[in-house]
């Protein structure tokens, strides 16, 4: 039983596997059903609080909550304490006082979910981190793991490459932690300017060239290159980046037959991933989105339903 989901780093193998197994069971339960609604979280109130635009993650959490019969309220939070709006703390306390059982937060500041959990713990409101700055995005890592389990089976001993902006990516951080917890090897591929100093403590191999890595991996996760990075001097040009690190048809050919290509979306077609790769059966982009709903249902279930309901 976890109280808050703040990071993938804090998940042990049993908890993570438990969530993934639940997600799998929920998926099977709902398969082929006309009415995709379980009564599990009836009467529980879930609030999504997004300080950054993210249609895909917000919708995924909203659908997950609704399929579990929770009351889901979306707060589109604009501004933060930096821009003289209401403070994050006051907003959170307000939502908690108004009856939120669970707050799902997306925020541009690393650690925002940790702070929220600190403020709301006493009131009993639970917090799910839906992405905090450059820190973590634990449900993304869980849905990636769910997708890899479907395609590859158990992850123990599998080797996964994560390619792209490791410096700024919360998806990368969460995936490194979770994949290693689940027994997979991780190889990180990026130009040196996009590798954080201190990465040697991540327990992952770091490479700067993509091609030599491809033949030995079971999966490749492509990270989105954000527009602001393209002009930040981290690499000379989008074109050069794409040539060196983009996943294209040729590179797809270097992968083993069974290997799968993941992308957290939104994709920049032609930049980090070529259109024909994105649409190929080797890519699992849509499965990731589908699994996202089940994984988030499982997370809400583990947080809100408690073990007595699980029996």
């Amino acid at each position: 039983m976890i109280r808050h989901l703040l990071s993938a780093e804090s998940l042990d193998a049993d908890t993570a596997t438990g969530v993934l197994d639940t997600a799998d069971a929920l998926k099977q339960t709902l398969l082929g059903r006309e009415v995709r609604k379980l009564p599990t979280l009836r009467g529980r109130t879930v609030v999504t609080m997004f300080y950054e635009n993210s249609t895909r993650t917000r919708v995924s959490f909203e659908v997950a909550g609704k399929w579990m019969s929770a009351d889901v309220i979306n707060v589109s939070a604009t501004g933060s304490s930096t821009s003289k709006g209401e403070s994050l703390r006051d907003t959170a306390l307000t939502l908690s006082a108004a009856g939120a059982d669970c707050v799902i937060v997306r925020h541009p500041a690393s650690g925002a979910a940790h702070r929220l959990a600190g403020w709301l713990d006493e009131a009993g409101t639970q917090v799910v981190n839906a992405g905090d700055g450059m820190h973590e995005h634990p449900t993304q890592a869980l849905l990636d793991a769910a997708t890899l389990r479907e395609r590859l089976g158990e992850l123990t001993g599998r080797r996964v490459a994560i390619v792209g902006d490791l410096l700024h990516s919360r998806v990368a951080r969460s995936n490194v932690h979770l994949l290693r917890t689940l027994g997979a090897e991780v190889v990180l591929v990026a130009p040196p300017t996009l590798v954080p100093s201190g990465v040697q403590h991540w327990g992952a191999e770091v490479r700067h060239e993509l091609d030599p890595v491809l033949a030995g991996v079971d999966a490749v996760m492509m990270l989105r290159v954000q527009a602001e990075r393209m002009h930040g001097g981290f690499f000379p040009s989008a074109r050069e980046y794409s040539i060196a690190y983009g996943m294209n048809e040729t590179r797809l050919g270097l992968l083993p037959e069974h290997a799968v290509v993941l992308h957290p979306g939104p994709m920049l077609r032609g930049m980090e991933i070529a259109p024909d790769v994105a649409d190929s059966p080797r890519a699992a982009v849509n499965e990731q989105v589908r699994n996202g709903v089940h994984v988030r249902m499982a997370v809400l279930y583990h947080l809100l339903a408690g073990e007595e309901v699980a029996a």
């Binding site: 703390r89 690393s110 650690g111 820190h135 201190g198």
Partner: protein
Amino acid sequence: MNRAKETSNLSGGGMSGIGGPGERILLKDVRPYGEGEPVDVLVAGGVIAEIGSGLTADADEILHADGAVVLPGFVDLHTHLREPGREDAETVETGSAAAALGGYTAVFAMANTDPVADNAVIVEHVWRRGREVGLVDVHPVGAVTAGLRGSELAELGTMARSAAKVRVFSDDGRCVDDPLLMRRALEYTGAFGAVVAQHAEDPRLTVQAQAHEGANAARLGLAGWPAPAEESIVARDCMLAGHTGGRLHVCHVSTSGTAEFLRWWRSQDGATAVSAEVTPHHLLLTDDVLGNYDPVHKVNPPLRADADVHALRRALADGTLDCVATDHAPHAAQDKDCEWSAARPGMLGLQTALGVVLHTMLEPGLLDWRGVARVMSEHPARIAGLADQGRPVAEGEPANLVLVDPETRWTVRGAELASVSANTPFEGMELPGRVMATMLRGRITAHEGKIARAEGER
């Protein structure tokens, strides 16, 4: 956080104080610099009149010190008193009280107030408020550049010639990063023997920086503040000081590389007047404490790695770093009770500095009590050119003194500190050494953790 303030009874004039220019105070059983058998010290007329055993002179007050260590009163080259502008975080009065309770007899109030202390009017105001409160000598620091904007020099000469007699200039909080402007500042201040105190941080290398660039920042997803952003400016400024003959003081040295560079620079023949300070928090804390994202640990320069902490202790012990300066930086609750990146950097320091120095330097044997006196009082007084501070504990010297009970340990509670703000990173920590009393020109300003009611010097 609202709490009743010990110091609220300070402002009224005419109350009976303890001691004063005309009064005689006998300190019974004190140990100057913690050395030898206890002696008695008679203070009269604002100076140390007599030191000896079993003094029985007539005294207006007798303070039984039971073997407390007596040192020259501490001098802090780096204090943010927040007045004018952020009186919700600290005032000259509350900051002076914190200083007196921490054993200080002089503090240098940084210029990044609102409005900025970049002109004679503001520095004279701060100086006058310090005199009115009368607990500690408040010396305003003048801004190097107008409005701290880093584009043109502030009226340095006017501030130097004002009643506040400004001798330390700093844009602290920001770096004077333009090398030509820094060169001019070092040259120009030579005319009145002032020192330029640099906040060494190359702004291009610290865009949006949030934490020491290293393993913890990488894991926590906090943009890195790399050591070379400090070290490159320190190296550049030493060379500019060497070239111009100006006097450079390096604020809050935080990296082992800066210490190493300064050690080398100061070993060179003809190396000119360069001095450097280290903060108590950089002597004790590392970025390992950042895990819960509590901005009470956010400070600029950031808390660094264990190797840096130990290098800084060694550098303070061997004289590469001259002194300890608190960078006492009070912040209102709302500026800390928020997400990390939105929080303001800085932490309280005046009342915990001695304890941290004793814990990190004296207890491990890196400094003795004379060394503590050197880094807390003598060196900072000399750097700032204060003639009556940091003087020996000897007959005829000004009675700016601190009595330290070395045996007592105490637990830090932010809510109990004299500052308006409570942002101490040492909350709940047990520190050695309690300030028994502080004395400013023969008058007791703090005694047993309480501010001694004072008549302001007007």
